[in-house]
Assembly symmetry: D2
Homo-oligomer: 405 residues x 4
């Protein structure tokens, strides 16, 4: 009963790239400021293509190598068919890749690695990459546990390397606008936050689907299922936009599908420093919901509403005047929102462009821009803390737990 979400779409990507319009055999030279490799993202993985496309969208970077699968032959085949790479730079494993790439001339070797593999792989690969001197872009959640994430952050602190965690929803222009709006003080102190992230694709047993299989397996996903995969995105969006610190939370997680080992649904009450309150709902069993991330924030003098299904609008409400619809590329936006758009208003920008904005910020950091806007390792550690607190609260029956120790 798995269904309609990944397989169909995945099919579209794979079918196209492998059958219809292959990458050709001819090598073309082009300038690219940044060269990167990928770990994971091989056949059957949806997110690998998203990373390649987003990272390369503005022309600033180029995928040059990868360890796409745990099997050497599959890695080569994926590299060739999905990414147009020569066999030589498709490695059987990440250790080999890091060693081989480090040995290449500086103007040829990869400069950063994208970790697009299941969760249990994130930290080992990241540690190895840092050790080999490569910058890192890592999928979320950052690690299998908070302790592991903190250890990684410790490692990173000793390196002069950049590290991004792809909390990609921070890349939407109207999310940038929302953040700027809160920061401007126009809304007054924030009081209430509602965040929903509802999906329905795991409403029944889906263990025969590759994407579903690892996400519902504690060995590969970690201590949380739904909250590891998407609840952590919700936390990140709330934290990014409001700048508020969670002080305590109370979680009620559930596993609805029989036989599943991890949560597939839950609600979490939040208390923030300064007195604001919030609630996060996340679900993988909300039948028919697609990838429906929505955020509401209310302050003393104004509030707003955003939802991914209408990502280019930010509905802003005030105490004393009619609500307004701020739009990607439209009038009255903050510099942060304007910088995040690629086309004039009315030319809808979507998920891939938002994802590419995470890379934009990362490249700015690589260029030495001090306040480049991208989700970094702190986001990743906070996300792991959120997951761990949520699981702990729920396991104790839904009690309030402090966010920090």
């Amino acid at each position: 009963m798995l269904i309609y979400v990944f397989p169909l779409s995945l099919y579209a990507i794979v079918a196209y790239n492998t059958c219809v319009c292959d990458w050709g055999e001819v090598l073309t030279e082009r300038r690219a400021k940044w060269r990167f490799g990928m770990v994971g993202g091989g056949e059957g993985a949806f997110i690998g293509q998203v990373h390649r496309l987003a990272a390369e969208m503005d022309g600033a970077a180029c995928l040059v190598c990868g360890a796409f699968a745990s099997d050497a032959e599959r890695s080569r085949r994926s590299g060739r068919e999905l990414y147009g790479l020569s066999d030589e730079r498709c490695y059987p494993d990440y250790a080999t890749m890091f060693a081989a790439e480090a040995a290449r001339p500086t103007d040829e070797r990869m400069q950063f690695v994208v970790i697009a593999a299941p969760n249990h792989v994130h930290v080992p690969v990241a540690e190895a990459a840092l050790a080999a001197g490569f910058h890192v872009v890592c999928d979320k959640p950052l690690a299998m546990s908070l302790a592991q994430a903190e250890q990684l952050a410790g490692t990173l602190a000793k390196c002069d390397l950049e590290f991004a965690v792809t909390h990609n929803y921070t890349g939407y222009p109207m999310i940038r606008e929302a953040r700027a709006l809160v920061a401007s003080g126009a809304l007054g102190a924030i009081r209430r936050v509602n965040c929903e992230y509802l999906q329905g694709w795991l409403a029944s047993d889906a263990s025969d689907n590759k994407q579903a299989a690892w996400r519902t397996d504690p060995e590969r996903a970690g201590a949380a299922g739904c909250f590891g995969d998407i609840g952590s995105h919700a936390e990140n969006l709330v934290s990014y936009v409001t700048g508020l610190d969670i002080v305590a939370l109370c979680a009620d997680l559930t596993t609805f599908v029989p036989g599943r080992e991890l949560d597939d649904d839950g609600n979490v009450l939040l208390r923030f420093a300064g007195g604001a309150r919030g609630v996060v709902s996340a679900s993988q069993i909300a039948v028919g919901k697609e990838n429906d991330l929505a955020l509401q924030v209310y302050g003393e003098r104004g509030g707003f509403e955003w939802k991914q299904s209408d990502a280019n609008s930010l509905l802003v409400r005030w105490t004393d005047r009619a609500p307004e619809i701020r739009r990607t590329g439209g009038p009255g936006l903050s510099a942060a929102a304007l910088d995040a758009a690629r086309t004039p208003s009315g030319h809808p920008e979507g998920y891939l462009e938002a994802f590419a904005n995470v890379y934009r910020g990362f490249y700015q950091a690589l260029d030495g821009v001090a306040d480049a806007d991208f989700p970094d390792v702190e986001h990743g550690v906070r996300g792991m803390r959120f997951i761990e607190r949520v699981v702990s609260s729920s396991a104790q029956g839904g009690v309030w737990v402090n966010f920090e120790e």
Copy 2:
């Protein structure tokens, strides 16, 4: 800073009725199956006009008397100017009204009373009405405490009289459809419920507004502010539509406006019999939100979404086919939804028509229809239990409390 909500609208009503088109002096005879009186609903009260209009909408009933205010002169003036009644049937207080009306000939006297006064008045008036042999339509929340509500229910059980509590949101055609959809089993067992009821009209101090003043005063409103006024509507909507029993809840209430004595915001986690989970958010400080009640329900095989701001649509989602938009008066509806509409599809029905549907059901009950659909005293008692449990949970720091003893 009160603002834009009640005063403006109220002005529109009052201005019209008192200044522009008075009720005239000529008495007109018309048939009306049911005659009713009102307690409360005098000058400055918004809900009194709503009751009159809704109760009389279909022509089945007629307001014939009232004790509209605690002051005899204001009662008379309200009756004359707002409701077109003769002085003779505008009483100085409800006790006088019940006695005087009971003494009238049966084909002339009021048959039921509408209690449209602040919460602390509900039970005393209701008890007196029942004692005098009148049916009752009472505003929510039913009482000042659960104990008081249960005592009233006990009184009622000994009478052969009907009792409605105006949880009016049950009257929307698409809410009737939602209830029928759940009851049909098409969605499978229900798993997740999200209900939001967000308003912004009390985002700052509003004690100079009559509507706001009593709602934020524990002496007149009871133990809860926001959750007494609108949180209880949310509970009612959830219970009515899903038919699920709440087993336990965990509430986090807040008072954001300085000096206010009652909660003006809160979130509540819910556990239902059978395993479903839910969350209710209610607020009076969500700046710019109007009267935004929204409900999402997800079952094993389908789910739906409804919001009052688009009240004539019910968005129904399924595992295996495209979402559908069921519409008031449109194709494919249940009998319950069809019966609740007054106009063909595409002629928007609103709040007043939904409110009138509560009266429709009540009149059916008066006519002896066994399964007439209207919120009765059980709804009212359950609502009080909800309020009491929410307040108790929150007062203990947000712990889980059982819904029943």
Copy 3:
């Protein structure tokens, strides 16, 4: 295949009033400033109940008599069952009604008549009513021809009586706001108008449906089908909101359903005095559309969009700032819009309330208010001119015709 539009809804009304909660036998006295009779609106007619409900909504008027059907017995039965009237005041025909009512004491007789019958009946009844000294509320289109309408207007000019034509869509609060916005000059000179009125209920042969039968019969509907029924509403809305005069038009009407004698679809280009341009689309064969009236207006400095399916919002756009959503009862509205609302913002108002606002304006006129806002005989004549010009243009193959002679 007709189906889902009228029958179901109609059923709901009739079923309720006749079977479930009859009007009772007891006469109740109430004050009502205005007493009215009805012609038409008998069994099977949807619009009669709408008129009664809208006219009585605010309590200012009361239906006291009617000639509801061409058959005496059906008239009595309709009066009794649908409207709660005594047999004595249910007349076999309008002539009898006018004579009998005129003979009653002034404080008892009807003061105005509502003409809720097919189009061919409008003018004869209206002429008779005026001759008998009764004010008139008449359904649209006003007449069977422009000449007939002009003659009626001539008759009226010689009487001291009020005359309303129920172009009811002018009653929506946000339409009032739109009109005030244009009149304020804030948008600058108007340049472009788009108006759509799309229905689907006549997409196939519907001659077995009473509502459809007369609307598609030239003997009863007049020279136009779709444009007589709803195209004329579109013209009225455009004229009312913009205040612009049509100078010329070019129409392309079609009859899509085989065997139908009148147009069921069409598009009309408009040129207005002052240079604005517009287009009106109206259809009864736009499958699945309900009663979807929508209006867009663009001026030099701003514009707006309104649609009946979201009737309480007016989306206003500007050259230099974000679009705003003005809302019924919300902040920033004109007095005209505020006066047209009955409830606070967020309590959706719909079709019936808008219809009742036409009656509000009419009652103000009866009270002598000079600038009472309601569609009068001039609206009706202009509507007939529109119909006649549209039919003429289309009959000539779609040529430009002048609006005035």
Copy 4:
């Protein structure tokens, strides 16, 4: 007063590429099946970046050269800064480029050219490209006149080369779905089509804006302004989705902004072979509208609605059941719609992805796929015929003109 549309967004692109994250100096080799050059798209041009991004999105192609501006130095600078090209392959003009590229080894030279320059340049460049043996992707409208377009089509017919015209709105997944839905016959014969393409960015004089300047100049834009730029897109969308042939049209164009030489607004009535009727509205002066393309189609048994501002939804209506919302990547879609999506449902796809789908189809054609779906020269010629007929009809006062001779 120009404004908010292009400058801001453009700024975002330019600022990023030139200031923040330059293309670097290092040459990277990658496989790319197709290599292309560009004519136009230099500094200040928005569409050049769109072409590069869309053409390269899936990794199948790579920009290798260009004649980006009419000035050699600006061409070099644009190539270097906007596109990361070496000076050597940034040519001073297209003739030089075609000659130089043709002289390169086959595995190195460009294979097709993208013409992203103002309209008057399209045909000369296209003719030269074809003469030099290069495939062509050309912006719309195809030419300065129908005759010129037909001559180009004649040239092409003699070559064994592919030719695309970037009517990019055909690339949206839900437009593909709409087309498949019509073609399936499920809607029955089509009866009514409404298409709106409303923008507001030229509501006042904008001649100081580069994008605006050439679009309002007959020497560079051709005989139509608004209808050349966006009216032709509307025609293309209607024709692509419905497959209907226009038989005759009647147009009313206007120039609202003083001093402007070309139309900036208009409405066109359409008659199609088989009896369907339609209307197209296009405007550049609809204040506050962004890039609002919307399409409604109604057949005998069903209809649908699509709008670019909610591009991933297709609202489908039926005579006998509730409307459904088909969604990009969602259940129940045609193969054509599935193939056009890159991500799972709920990951919004936008303008750039749709544009990239035009390139996908073009690449399939280059690969010899017989029925590759992309707008070809016939679309371009038909678009020119539409423009010419619209201008001719309007110039004659708005008369009906035959579409074919």
